[in-house]
Structures are given as structure tokens and as C-alpha cells.
């Protein structure tokens, strides 16, 4: 399989002297679903920032989607980011805009044609189960729904990678499972998913690859099955069925 993210001996030391990453090496292949776990301050956020080119490494090489982002020119960074959809812990939705406009905003920001926005946004909202709430403001929605809007925004430009930074940090456990389930559905259609979390229940429940970072080092990287917990939670109740329409539709 093709590699979509590759870290080769990457170190990152901030100006303050903090060693956030220390000689980290890892590879993520296209279409993988990966949990990144670790305690606070372990280096998870730096790992994501380096992928998104919000930070540059002090040493080492980072390849994203075949591009050496270590040497990427400033003007090319936006085009790199168009391959990524970001989901934030705090949703980062604009409350003066409707749900529809929040999602459309991501398309408009990269200069998509109005006709393409009109076609794609309702489709993505349907995909995340929010078609009937398109005209609501984010503050009128529950935490789980807001995170689905954030996910819709991340998906709308059809990125190759979805990066979710603690996507379940601000929502209740039931909704958390729903969000990860939705990400799994998206992953099933070929999108690479990176989820940073420290919710072990979730990691154990979903049988995915887990990379653990501690003190800036990758201390474990496993694809082994994780133990499924006995939860009072039925995945059959989830809204998102595996036969949901293709992500590319509506483009």
C-alpha cells in the first residue's frame, strides 16, 4: 500500500526549549484508521501540527501524500492542507452562520464555484445526518451534532486525510461512539483517518491501529486487536449504516 504519512527521525524543539518530539519515525498508509494516544504534553498535538505544516520539524523528514513537507514553500502550504480535513475538540463552528454556511464556508474559502457548493453541502449534511438542521445555528445543536457539523466541514472538500484532534473531548460517551463510528464509515470509503484521543474505552472498542506517544517518542505502534469492552451501548442503534452513499458524490 502507498504511504500517506511518513515521519523519518523527526524531532521538534520549540523556542522555549521544550522537546516535543524526539527522533520519531512512523508510517501511515493510505486508507488506514489510526488512533494516536498519549498523556497530555506527550507530543500528540505537535505530531498533528507537523502534518498540517503549522510547525516545521527541527530535524528529520516528513512526507505527506508523497510531498516532502519539510521543504515545502510557504505558498504551497494551502494546497497541502486541501488534502486534509481537520476536526477540532472544540468544534470551531461560527455561530453567526447556519449549519449549512459553516460547511459551505470550507468550500468557499478555497474558491469553489457556488454551483458546486449548492450541490455538495446538502449531500454532506445528509451523510452526517444533519440535513434537517441545515438552517439551525450551531448553538442550537447538541455537542454531538456540533461535532458532526465540524466533521461535515472537514469532509466537504473531499480530503485524503481526516485529522481529528480529541474529537470526543467535549461530548458525552454515547455521542463519542457515534462520532468514531461515523469516522469508521468514512474510513471504509478510503479516507485515511487520524484520531488523537486519550479515551481508552473508545480505542479498545474500535479495533484499529494505535500509536502511543510518550515524552516525544513513539513508544508503541500496534495493529493488534484491542480488547472489546462490554459496553451498554449498541452499535446497531447508530444512525450511520455501512451502506451509506459514497463520499465523492455531490462533488
Amino acid at each position: 500500500m502507498d504511504k500517506i504519512i511518513e515521519f523519518r527521525n523527526v524531532s521538534k524543539t520549540y523556542d522555549s526549549g521544550t522537546h516535543a518530539l524526539n527522533n520519531a519515525s512512523l508510517e501511515i498508509e493510505k486508507g488506514e484508521f489510526v488512533f494516536i494516544v498519549g498523556a497530555s504534553g506527550a507530543g500528540k498535538s505537535t505530531f498533528l501540527k507537523l502534518i498540517m505544516h503549522e510547525e516545521t520539524p527541527s530535524r528529520g523528514t516528513i512526507m505527506v501524500n508523497g510531498i516532502n513537507v519539510t521543504k515545502l514553500r510557504r505558498g504551497k502550504v494551502p494546497y497541502l492542507r486541501r488534502n486534509m480535513g481537520i476536526v477540532f475538540q472544540d468544534f470551531r463552528l461560527i455561530d453567526k452562520m447556519t449549519v449549512y454556511d459553516n460547511v459551505a464556508f470550507a468550500m468557499r474559502a478555497i474558491g469553489s464555484r457556488p454551483s458546486a457548493v449548492k450541490k455538495r453541502v446538502p449531500y454532506i449534511l445528509e451523510l452526517v445526518g444533519l440535513k434537517n438542521k441545515a438552517n439551525r445555528r450551531p448553538s442550537e445543536l447538541s455537542g454531538g451534532e456540533q461535532q458532526r457539523v465540524s466533521l461535515a466541514r472537514a469532509l466537504v472538500n473531499n480530503p485524503a486525510i481526516i485529522i481529528a484532534d480529541e474529537p470526543t473531548g467535549n461530548i458525552d460517551p454515547e455521542m463519542s461512539f457515534e462520532i468514531i463510528e461515523l469516522l469508521s464509515e468514512i474510513n471504509a470509503q478510503g479516507t485515511t483517518i487520524l484520531v488523537v484521543t486519550h479515551e481508552h474505552d473508545l480505542v479498545r472498542h474500535f479495533n484499529k491501529r494505535v500509536i502511543e506517544i510518550e515524552k516525544g517518542r513513539v513508544i508503541s505502534d500496534t495493529k493488534e486487536d484491542v480488547e472489546e469492552m462490554d459496553l451498554n451501548f449498541s452499535t446497531q442503534e447508530l444512525r450511520f449504516e455501512s451502506d451509506s452513499p459514497s463520499l465523492k458524490e455531490g462533488e
Binding site: R81, R92, F105, A109, G111, S112, R113
Partner: protein, 298 residues
């Protein structure tokens, strides 16, 4: 650029959303433009007066008090004898006061009763203006000629005032321009602070810096354009009003506004839009260098 219409709309929305700061920016820019315009129009008018005074080739020589009519006539003959004198017209004190009454109105002279403080005079035209100084010297040497009211000197004095106005207005306008730039940049910075969330999202989804910049530059340009339109309208009222007052006191034909209106409006629009655009570019520069949470100040 695709999506330009959307970005322009966003820029215009910014002005409304941030209206108090926008109004402040517009006011400062209007005062800057009106002052610049006034200084330029003043200078143009003074230049015109100076040229007409210089070109008129008329010098007034006042005669000493208590001269008899015959003495005045002899002085006139002596003046005409001078080689460079083309003509010398006698202007009695009565004739002079009549002239002033016509110019300034009867009311001012009512209190003077019969006491006319003006002296008799000769208005002299010269053949060769280059020999001005020598000719004045020769005329002043004639007994009974007491003073010279040289229009050349008036022109020189006007030119000096003009120079002073030019220098003063240059510094005032420069200061106001810097203040305008500062206030507009702050207005746009305030907009940016309110919209930092949107900027961070735009950057995270891959918006280019050009794309992020456009609404803020549009905001600056629109503020500049609004200020230019207000300044142009303001100048029309101001200029007509001021010139009506000035020409009633100092009789001269002011440059009609219609002659310079297009240039003035054009210059206002160009200057306003340019200042606004530069302010927009300056204020967003810092934000464009930031990434992710830095934009949000976290």
C-alpha cells in the same frame, strides 16, 4: 480569482459589522482628504492671483499729503518723462475711495465722514518690466512722491504666503495620512480580531493568503471610497461657500470648481482607495504569518 464575488461581499459586510470603527476611519480620512483638497485649491488660486498680479504690470505711486493740484500735475509730467514709463494715470484720493466703496461696500466708509485717509496716486505702467527696480528708484526720486505700492511686492508677499501654506499643509496632510493609515489599520485589525476564528478555519481548510486577504483589503478600499465620495461632496459646499466670502472681500476671479472638479474627485478616489488598500494589507500581514491556535491567540 474564483469566489471573488463572495469575498467582496464579505469585505463590505465587515464595514457594517464594525460600523463604529469604520465611521471613525471614514471621518479621519475625510478630514485628511478635505484638508489636502483645500490646500491644493488654495495654492492654485494664489498661483493664479500671483500670475495675474505679475502680468498686470501696474505700480501705484502715492503722493505726499497736502500737494496742490498743479504740483500733482507736474509730478505726473516728470513721471512720464522717464524712459521706461509707458503710461501714468492720475488717481485722486476721491477716485480711489470711490473705487474701494464699489469693491467693499458703502457701509465700511460711513464712519469716515468726510475724512478721506487715502493719498492721491499715479498708477504707472512700464515698457520693460525687467527694468522695474531702476524705474521705481527714478520715480521715487521725484519730489512729492512719497510711497510705492508695488504689485510686484504684493505678488512676492502672496507667493510667500503660498509657500507657507504649502509647507504647512504638507506636514498636516502627512500627519493626517499617517493617522488615517493607523486608524484604518486598527479598524481592520478589530475586524480581523472578530473574525480570527474564520481566518483560522480558512487557513486550516487550505485557503491561500490571497484569499484570506481579499475581504480585508476590500474593507479598506471601500472605507477609502466612501471617504472620497463624502470629501468630494464636502469640497463642493466648502469651496463655493468660502470662495463667495473671499471674493466679496478680495476681488478676484476664483478658479471655478467645475474646472478642477474631475481632477479633484479622481485624486480623492485614488488617494482614498490607495490608503484603504495599504491599511488592509498592513493589518493582515501579521495574521497571515500566524498558524492555527496562534491566530486565535491561544
Amino acid at each position: 480569482m474564483r469566489g471573488l464575488g463572495y469575498l467582496i461581499k464579505e469585505g463590505l459586510k465587515n464595514i457594517w459589522n464594525n460600523r463604529i470603527m469604520s465611521i471613525a476611519s471614514i471621518c479621519v480620512l475625510v478630514s485628511c482628504l478635505v484638508l489636502t483638497g483645500s490646500a491644493v485649491l488654495f495654492t492654485l488660486n494664489v498661483d493664479k492671483v500671483v500670475k495675474s498680479v505679475e502680468g498686470s504690470n501696474e505700480t501705484t505711486f502715492y503722493l505726499a499729503d497736502n500737494l496742490s493740484r498743479v504740483e500733482s500735475v507736474y509730478i505726473g509730467r516728470d513721471i512720464r518723462k522717464i524712459k521706461n514709463v509707458k503710461e501714468a494715470e492720475y488717481c485722486s484720493k476721491d477716485k480711489a475711495i470711490e473705487r474701494y466703496k464699489k469693491m467693499l461696500g458703502e457701509e465700511i466708509f460711513e464712519r469716515m465722514n468726510e475724512d478721506n485717509p487715502l493719498p492721491d496716486a499715479y498708477i504707472v505702467k512700464m515698457k520693460d518690466i525687467k527694468k522695474y527696480k531702476e524705474t521705481v528708484k527714478e520715480i521715487m526720486a521725484i519730489k512729492g512722491v512719497s510711497q510705492v505700492a508695488s504689485r510686484q511686492e504684493t505678488a512676492d508677499r502672496l507667493a510667500k504666503i503660498d509657500g507657507l501654506v504649502k509647507t504647512l499643509s504638507f506636514w498636516i496632510v502627512l500627519a493626517l495620512m499617517i493617522i488615517s493609515l493607523f486608524i484604518i489599520s486598527n479598524t481592520i485589525r478589530a475586524t480581523m480580531h472578530n473574525r480570527r476564528f474564520e481566518i483560522s478555519i480558512m487557513k486550516s481548510v487550505g485557503a491561500t493568503n490571497h484569499f484570506v486577504r481579499v475581504p480585508f483589503v476590500v474593507e479598506g478600499m471601500a472605507i477609502g471610497l466612501i471617504a472620497a465620495v463624502i470629501s468630494t461632496c464636502g469640497m463642493i459646499f466648502l469651496y463655493d461657500g468660502i470662495m463667495n466670502i473671499v471674493t466679496s472681500v478680495i476681488p478676484f476671479t476664483a478658479i471655478p470648481l467645475s474646472e478642477v472638479f474631475l481632477y479633484m474627485a479622481g485624486a480623492f478616489v485614488v488617494a482614498g482607495v490607495l490608503i484603504g488598500m495599504v491599511s488592509g494589507i498592513i493589518s493582515i500581514r501579521k495574521y497571515l504569518r500566524k498558524e492555527g491556535n496562534e491566530i486565535l491567540g491561544w
